[in-house]
Symmetry: C2
């Protein structure tokens, strides 16, 4: 089922993915070879290119037929890579997409500055659209994401994080970029407020579901498929929905045990297995899966204002894939 | 003389400075109090506001009479502050403008992310100009500055740094922002290519002279007036023009002594005094002063295409002040 979904999706976006890859290489032209090396390390390590794809598909859904969408779509992959570089420095994570994170190979300052460079490159391309609305979207993304990350740092280890606070964090750190990519496709197509808002809503719900699926994978996936060690979130003191919900549902004794794990995240594999079982037992996993599925439904409904077409079919498949994937 | 220059300049820009200050407070509205605190720590610690002033004056010089210049001028102060926050993390400097650098009070990741927030805020304002050319200028500034910083890191401790390499570094890390501020004033005023290029040239030469004056102060100023310890550049392995030139002129014995200081920058005050004397003796100071003065002449000449007016007088005074200041 999952494999079949992935096959269908890939057949629909294959050519776009090739074009995006070419554009990502073509637009990355720093003066310094070192910058290209650091930026390339992350950029060409197997990203899913969801953000540029969404911009391209959104523009097409609005009837845009210009051939500049591929080039402009890299805006959102460079911006994404820039934030990942800064986040990795923030999180001190050692692995990213199964490879050593950039800051383990180069000094942190160089990684931060390469992030700045990618942000600037993204900005240069946005300027070329000639559309200040796209710049405003980008500015909003960067403001929200930087504040979202700081908020997450402030909340580190906070065992009382509520579902509402979790939603704010994932909106800021993930959904806002997908919203921006979708909305910008509409802006490029001069689709008007109503359609742009619909695309924004699609991106929001997709982004929320996407992050929930990510947070689930951190408890359910294997290291080989995940490209990083599972349990990373709780080790970094990040409470995500599966745990928030399980804490809510667990009886006193198990709740206390979980709180101890959060307070002292230097646990062994056996403890992690116990935690995984409790997240299932107390419906943290199930609840999060249901929420993610609900947001996917809402994402699909947002597209109701558009006339069905191949771009819409592809976006629907991406929505299905967002919660069916195992990576 | 210096004091008289400063008095005249301040009387001309006093109201603008007050307005800039109000706008800097008014436009800094993050969701998180912590972000405001970190950003405010640097932003309101006595910056000279040269960059916003230059944008305002450049727009006026081109005959612009809109009352939105003050608001837009904060673009360049936020951008400047963003790069300072990232640079301080990069340089690991402990003091900035006589206060502890932000990263000594908050964690480095928070400082990096606050820098991102300020960059985004700057971008939001740029989007509001509705002028993609201003966005392009900003993107160029960020690309050049991030690469300039990385280049400077790569060159750390390189005793063979040439004057030409030094010029590339200071153009990228300082001049580009002043160029951008001046040019954007022209863009805002729709002044046309010729005048925009003249403003760009003014900003370039002013920026180069400004950085040379900074690099001189690091060897000639006292800690109290400088707001940081003199000799910081060489301690960080940064070779600047006074030293580059002195190395070129010194006889073998003194040259070797200087190279030893560069190689092992853990020197005491006596060594630093000796170094200062050698920079004078081998004309490193004098040569840099002459170069800076020459760039100030070129800056002033660039304004030849404009009709004299009060904005021009003020810009001329700023140019004089750039190399006469002792802070």
């Amino acid at each position: 089922m999952k494999q079949e979904l992935k096959r269908r999706l890939i057949s629909l976006v294959e050519q776009d993915l090739i074009d995006i890859e070419t554009a990502l290489h073509g637009n990355l032209t720093p003066n310094l070879p070192l910058v290209k090396e650091i930026a390339g390390h992350l950029l060409f390590s197997g990203g899913k290119r969801i953000r540029p794809l969404l911009m391209i598909l959104s523009a097409r859904l609005c009837g845009y037929r210009g051939n500049d969408t591929i080039g402009f779509s890299t805006i959102f992959e460079y911006l994404h890579a820039a934030t990942l570089l800064h986040d990795d420095v923030v999180d001190e994570a050692d692995l990213r997409r199964g490879k050593p994170a950039a800051h383990t190979q180069w000094s942190r300052p160089k990684v931060v500055l390469t992030g700045d460079f990618l942000l600037a490159r993204s900005l240069s391309l946005a300027a070329k659209t000639g559309l200040p609305d796209i710049i405003a979207v980008m500015a909003n993304i960067t403001e929200e994401m930087s504040q979202g990350e700081i908020e997450q740092m402030e909340q580190k280890g906070n065992a009382r994080l509520t579902e509402a606070q979790y939603m704010t964090v994932i909106q800021r750190k993930t959904a806002v970029l997908l919203q921006g990519a979708c909305k910008s496709g509409g802006i490029l197509a001069r689709a008007g407020n109503k359609k742009e808002a619909a695309l924004d809503a699609f991106g929001y719900h997709l982004g929320v579901a996407f992050q929930m699926a990510d947070d689930l994978l951190d408890y359910t996936a294997k290291a080989e498929t995940l490209g990083k060690n599972p349990g990373a979130d709780i080790r970094e003191g990040k409470l995500t929905l599966p745990l928030i919900k399980a804490l809510e549902n667990a009886p006193e004794r198990d709740r206390t045990w979980m709180l101890n794990v959060i307070a002292d995240p230097d646990f062994d594999e056996k403890d992690f297995n116990t935690l995984q079982k409790q997240l299932h037992q107390y419906k943290g996993i199930e609840y999060t899966e249901q929420k993610a599925a609900h947001h996917i439904d809402l994402a699909k409904q947002s597209l109701g204002v558009f006339t069905p077409c191949q771009a819409m079919d592809t976006m629907m498949l991406i929505a299905d894939y967002a919660i069916a994937r195992n990576v």
